[in-house]
Symmetry: C2
Subunit: 457 residues, 2 copies
Amino acid sequence: MFDPVEKLKEFIRHPSISADSMQKEGMLGAQKFVSSILGELGFKVEVVPTAMHPIVYAERIGNPAWPHVVIYGHYDVQPADPLNLWKTPAFEPTIIGTRIYGRGAADNKGPLMTNIAAIGYLLEKNPNLPLNITFLVEGEEEMGSPSFPEFLKTYAARLKKADFVYLSDTLLPTPDQVVITCGLRGMTLFDLQVTGPKSDLHSGLHGGVLRNPIQALTEICASLHTPDGRVNVPGFYDDVLDVHPWEREQLKKLGGDEKKYAEFLGIDSFYTSPGLTPFEAVRFAPTLEFNGIGGGYQGEGTKTVIPSKAFAKISCRLVANQDPDKIKQLVIAAIKSRAPSGVKLEFIDQHKGDAYVVVPPDRSNTPVDQSKVLAQAFRATDAAVQKYWGKAPLYLREGGSVPIIAQIKAATGLDSIMLGLFLPEDNLHAPNEGFSLEVMKKGIATAESIFASVAGI
Amino acid sequence: MFDPVEKLKEFIRHPSISADSMQKEGMLGAQKFVSSILGELGFKVEVVPTAMHPIVYAERIGNPAWPHVVIYGHYDVQPADPLNLWKTPAFEPTIIGTRIYGRGAADNKGPLMTNIAAIGYLLEKNPNLPLNITFLVEGEEEMGSPSFPEFLKTYAARLKKADFVYLSDTLLPTPDQVVITCGLRGMTLFDLQVTGPKSDLHSGLHGGVLRNPIQALTEICASLHTPDGRVNVPGFYDDVLDVHPWEREQLKKLGGDEKKYAEFLGIDSFYTSPGLTPFEAVRFAPTLEFNGIGGGYQGEGTKTVIPSKAFAKISCRLVANQDPDKIKQLVIAAIKSRAPSGVKLEFIDQHKGDAYVVVPPDRSNTPVDQSKVLAQAFRATDAAVQKYWGKAPLYLREGGSVPIIAQIKAATGLDSIMLGLFLPEDNLHAPNEGFSLEVMKKGIATAESIFASVAGI
């Protein structure tokens, strides 16, 4: 068997930034790396072309009667900028103590490698393991998986034969408390572009006669929240469902120290929707965020210009039962109704994803078919976590989004078991991303135990 | 004598962007170009070092009893971005019809070359011209002339011996209506930086618990204007003086078609302070503008980040009697009082300049000493404009800022005659800057006539 840490280093070295059209080589390198490692483990690897970045679809199918797990992961990563804030090079994996640093270390290369290694060890010990396994590793997760729906059209029929999806692309809140994520926020994203004068203007010659598009943009953006922290868009909360009591109980067990959380974030005070603690807000409430803003002169010194254009990148995180298209239309309608005179608006569609909820066995109000592989897998997961982490896992909704989970459910009926492996301090989507090698080690043992149990050995 | 158009081309080719520290070579080239052309005309040239870009100070001093004009100009230009909007290369001067295109063609290389050429022709015809002439050509005008006050400390004593300053760095509203600018707006500029969390955060994991610094920035910026177009800062208008009746009369003579002006700007509606026409607002009212805004992800596609920081570049144009430091403090105090919780503010000081007003002869309520060279020069200017442009000039305040004019007045007592040569369509500070060669030709004849008249020949 390969050394999982050395393989992870190799994986991180490929700058696989899916959103950056300059990084085609990094994307290709990461895809070939995944294909090759799965090929070496005996999988039949298909590189499925898409409109942008191909999907690695690798199968080990024996007896159709065996249980069948689909292991999901993604080989693409977020952009690494601002590069000047990295303490080690973003694409040169660096081990400091028991942590490995590099873009993608935690999201998702480390956790994916954990699950690949677990299968590797398991197959080494049990070459005839009675488990059908499909690896589904995509390259567009950080872009919102635009090609995934098209892929599902063709592959849903094959995926339907499986019993459940397993993945590690969610949070481990502390190093000893595993969380099985039972829900993910959905999202809808778009750019708002505001145009004022037809070209950039001298602010002395023309300042005072027209509405600066930056001013108009800030007026629009400032209107989208109430002072108490709610999204100020009519209808935005209409479809939000009440939180289940067992969810609040699980969250209470998680504990969490607000003071420490504020220190971690580096803020003096929280700003949440009324009636929600920060830990509840991030899981159970939808948001509207500004991911970027730009316009006019941004360089050194000054340029006394009135710019022609300004833009904001807007995203909403959505909870169960909120429809991304409906929410986007509500937000756009609010923006249009509030746009000041003298400027033109343009909306550039970005990606979207549905929210997702799975109710684990024993927590549903309706009886669960305990003979189902999904229920067995949940139980196996619970037991493996108790064994290797010393504590039962918690079952919680999480604030992040993995839109393809809802898409797989809709197209194939498959639910997902999401065992989180990245820590809050792993700096996802930020400079100095890292991943704990101790978490990786325990994660490998846990996954190995779960898959062995599902296989019935 | 040299060919002024060829020389202007040579001048434009130097990318002398003073605010861009990568353009040292362009700055040096433009400075050497100015020094060399004035040296060839017989001037004694000093290159006066400053903390950043040197000032070219060139003298032709004969008899101390002769009238003495200081001709001001600047050899630096604005940044050329966004480069993709230029139809011809920014630093490769291109003549199309009777216009020359390139960054700096109008601001200030073309007008400066006009005045250099006028002196060149005049001295060619009158080698013993009884006129003392000082050229004062700086390299930091587009940065707000930060080194000029220090320069004045040393050179004010020599400049005091002169009678007036002459320059062409203001507007020619139409090709046949010269304006002598009798007032300039002052300005004060600073950057506002807003910091939220201590590093960029994943908007899924942490969205909903803290105030996004972009949101905080937009809330602050949106608070700085009232819906009716005034600056919403307590005390902002306190020191603004009433407009003189003769100023309104002169402006009426200028005429101006609001519909055409709106078309030129490419806007549907004006947005001015109540009670002012657009043409009045740009001259007689102070403003607060956003010259730039930035924060978070600005690249292709999406990045679901909550940024740590966001910034805005803010400038105020000020009218006579408004103190830049006082206004800056008022704006900063308003911002501080409105800053939402959960973010930190930082203010980065940029440059500033006082507003300036000169009252031309016959328009003051107090009698003018008609024997003064300044009064003679104003009369000579009036006559030359009538002769070469077919119409008397108008005497108007203008919206732009040339802070050094107020500084020269304060340090030496010298007033300035500002004969504008750039047209509204010359796209100052914007892509596709250009300059009319016909204006240049008439400008040379006019300046030659003015200086001949002041010299008494």
